[in-house]
């Protein structure tokens, strides 16, 4: 291949200043336009929010250890689950993969110097910070107790908590999301390297394209909804509260018109990560590339048509319920196609058991459970019984944590050597992957059974007959907690004491592995030209596998 040399940085080359060493002042970080520095600042910020959301989760699980409300009173418990939801959804899950891994990798994967709109990228980070700080301020002042769904008229008329401040925080944060989506779409359209055609794009990029569509089209609706809520709460214009002439169901329609597609903002990038990890760690071209790519787009489009399945018992007409149930079944098909293709990719591969792959295999199992229980909830006659019970709680944690968070962890481990230039401890990585998988299932599987028994969500106290399964759940949560804290420790440790990873520790063909680790500020020394399809692992693709075997043996060491 004529371009092989340009993309195969040899070990002889003097390392250039990386994006990390290009300036150490605080100003050089806060005013950076480098997508990699912005991604890193996002990574630290969302980790803080994830940790705080996790503390609320711990409080919730401890309270539910016993039937009575003894550790937390109802008032505190209601705030705990509300704030757990708000922090996790708006400030962790939605930005998690797009703003960190997406920000870092999109330009690398398509052979660009940066995102198309670097200043807009920095602005999105500042908006995220402003929204986040405003929300944290509201939480410190006393918090909010409406549930993350802000259902009216409770949120507009009855709640005496900091609804306005949190609403404003989410409103501002929404613009961060819109700007990120806009940036990605422009970048993917205009910044691809020569030869990087649409069907040579890594599936991670396709997934982010689909995600960005949802961000741009959906997020303004939630902004409008919050604005209307504010108008009603402050100036008492009757929009949602029937006491002053509004309609509370209208709020639910507007809210879920965004918040259901938001589920896909959360899971689609995770699916992109899993496509990358499974193909690369099986060293095998992904099975059914076009089907995975277009199923992402199909999910993004159909995701806008199913919001009513959150409202089957809310008093909408039964015919609306039937239509939304039908569409929900349709949107399940593209997800099934992805799972089949991921599984088929491993057939006759060369599968390594490195940490990212362990997480990805865990994802497959957990996402299967999450997806199949989604069918339970899409089947309208069954969901009349299951809505607002712990079955729903279990289902969306299987998708959001079992799916998205696991995919996020897979991605963080997979690209950690590229981001930091250091190798983490493979041993501890595997231990944490196992703990997370076991702890997660122990936490959330019992909740399916609780849900069918009828235990309602958002209960600070519950009838004693539900206690045994709740004890299982809390026990699992402590295992899960340990599993989630471990990566923070060994990944941080690796930055200072990890072995140098080299530019391409796994001998993978993606463009992001054909630049320095950590990359220089402008990523590539020369404009790369792409002459290969995605996921081709042979030596003819410019990968000096013999040399890598000779020199490294096994670069991944404990």
């Amino acid at each position: 291949m004529q371009n092989a040399d340009a993309f195969n940085p040899s070990l002889m080359r003097e390392p250039k200043d990386s994006y990390l060493t290009n300036g150490y002042s605080i100003k050089s970080w806060l005013l950076t336009k480098d997508h990699k520095r912005i991604a890193l600042m996002y990574l630290i910020s969302i980790s803080v929010f994830f940790f705080m959301g996790g503390l609320y989760a711990a409080a919730i699980r401890l309270e539910l250890l016993t039937p009575g409300s003894d550790l937390l009173q109802s008032a505190t418990y209601n705030k705990a689950f509300t704030q757990h939801g708000i922090l996790m959804i708006f400030f962790f899950l939605i930005p998690s993969i797009p703003a960190t891994l997406g920000n870092f990798l999109l330009p690398l994967m398509i052979g660009a110097k940066d995102l198309a709109l670097p200043r807009i990228n920095l602005l999105s980070l500042y908006l995220y910070w402003i929204g986040g700080i405003l929300t944290l301020y509201a939480l410190m002042q006393g918090g909010v107790d409406t549930g993350w769904t802000f259902y009216t008229p409770y949120s507009t008329t009855f709640s005496n908590s900091y609804v306005m401040a949190v609403g404003l925080g989410i409103f501002i944060n929404g613009f961060s999301s819109i700007l990120t989506g806009l940036n990605f779409i422009v970048t993917i359209h205009t910044m691809r390297a020569p030869g990087m055609t649409w069907f040579r794009l890594p599936l991670f990029v396709w997934a982010h394209y689909a995600t960005s569509l949802v961000m741009i089209l959906g997020t303004p609706v939630v902004a409008i909804t919050i604005l209307l809520l504010a108008i009603e709460r402050v100036v008492r214009v009757g929009i949602f509260d029937p006491a002053i002439g509004g309609d509370p169901i209208l709020f639910q329609h507007l809210f879920w018109f965004y918040s259901h597609p938001a589920v896909y903002i959360m899971i689609l990038p995770g699916m992109g990560v899993i496509s990358e990890v499974i193909s690369n760690f099986s060293r095998k071209k992904i099975f059914g590339y076009e089907f995975i790519a277009f199923s992402s787009i199909a999910i993004a489009v159909f995701g806008f048509l199913v919001w009513g399945h959150h409202m089957f018992v809310s008093g909408q007409s039964i015919y609306a319920g039937l239509v939304f149930s039908f569409l929900t079944m349709v949107v399940a098909v593209p997800s099934a196609i992805k799972v089949f293709n991921w599984t088929a990719t491993m057939y006759k591969g060369s599968i390594s058991y490195d940490t990212p792959m362990l997480y990805a295999i865990g994802f497959l199992g957990l996402f299967l459970v999450g997806g199949l229980t989604g069918l339970f909830l899409g089947s309208v006659g069954l969901t009349v019984h299951l809505t607002d019970t712990y079955f729903v709680v279990a289902h969306f944690h299987y998708v959001m944590v079992g799916g998205q968070v696991i995919a996020y962890l897979a991605g963080i481990h997979y690209w950690w050597p590229k981001m930091t230039g250091k190798m983490y401890s493979e041993f501890w990585g595997k231990v944490s992957a196992m703990l997370v998988f076991v702890g997660f299932n122990l936490t959330f599987f019992p909740q399916f059974i609780l849900g069918y028994q009828g235990m309602p969500r958002r209960y600070a106290s519950y009838p004693a007959e539900f206690q045994v399964l709740n004890v299982f759940s809390t026990a699992g949560a402590s295992v899960l907690g340990v599993g989630l804290v471990m990566p923070v420790v060994y990944l941080t440790h690796s930055i200072f004491a990890g072995k140098p990873a080299g530019d391409n520790p796994w001998m993978l063909p993606g463009l992001e592995w054909r630049c320095q680790s950590p990359p220089t500020t402008f990523n590539f020394e020369e404009q790369p030209v792409v002459t290969w399809e995605a996921y081709e692992f042979g030596e003819e693709n410019g990968l000096d596998i013999e040399e890598a075997r000779r020199s490294a043996g096994r670069p991944v060491t404990v």
């Binding site: 009575g68 209601n78 008229p153 409770y154 069954l382």
Partner: protein
Amino acid sequence: MQTDSWIPLFPESASSFSWQVDALYFYLIAISVAFMIPIVAAIFWFIVRYREREKFATPEEIHGSIVLETVWSIIPFIISMTIFLGGAVVYYTQYRPPDDAMQVYVVGKQWMWKIQHETGQREINQLHVPVNTKVKLTMTTEDVLHDFSIPAFRTKADVVPGRYTYLWFEATKPGTYHLFCAEYCGLNHSGMIGSVVVLEQDDFERWLQGNASNQTPVEQGRDLFENKLGCASCHAAGSGQRGAALENIYGKEVKFVGGGSAIVDDEYLRNSILNPSSQVVEGYQPIMPTFKGQVTEEQLIALVAYIKSLSGVDASAAAPSAPAAPAPAPANNMGSNSNQGGR
């Protein structure tokens, strides 16, 4: 209520359509297992059989297969349509109230259910219905969204301010079943629970007449307190307690919000039930609704007798004598001070 169910950890099934919901549930479990087993088996087979044997190997490329893609798109679609149709049929049964049903009216309020029968009988946090009779609930709420949920009947519906929503069921087994508020409604959401009591037709007739049975006033009062009037949902000691603790208050002095005090005696207790806001004890909110018109004089007597028995006072004792030995204050997470003797 889980004791006599045929599968452990499976809820009681006690309405005319609950078996349909259960059948749908088992159908979906069967489908899930049928999907999980081959996929998980394939994953395990592949990761063992095709594990990395040589570092950086280059296995043979396999491109997609249009046949396979078509097959695994169409089969899930067909199966999902069967799930949709099954759900639609059950939903149609659940959410289409029959015309010949017995009417009951439900009003939700933070945080209690107020129920009225067509015969005029009122209940709070409890619904008595006859077995094998279609019952239709017409529901609304005074404040925020609530949700009337009866897991044993496999049905629920949101209760929405400013409009009526409807729920119907036909109970098939006498018994007492959970009633939950399933839509988050604020502070004491998890305390907005009660029960649905399904009675044989004769017992229901008797209940309608207000004929409890041959109970002593204290037993009758306890029944009213714990079941019929729902006093216990606020006044029972322990978690979720929002009303005044009633243990060992008889014969003691209580202080009122805004000044004043009184010795707890029969007249005070009776007045507190009928006009609760006229004498709110310090440390509590004026949230108790009046029970005027909902309790008969006979029932009041029974209630007072029961509350006195909580202080160790014999129901027949005419006047407070020596107060009972001060028992340790019951667990009270509302931070109230009203159950202190104050002398």
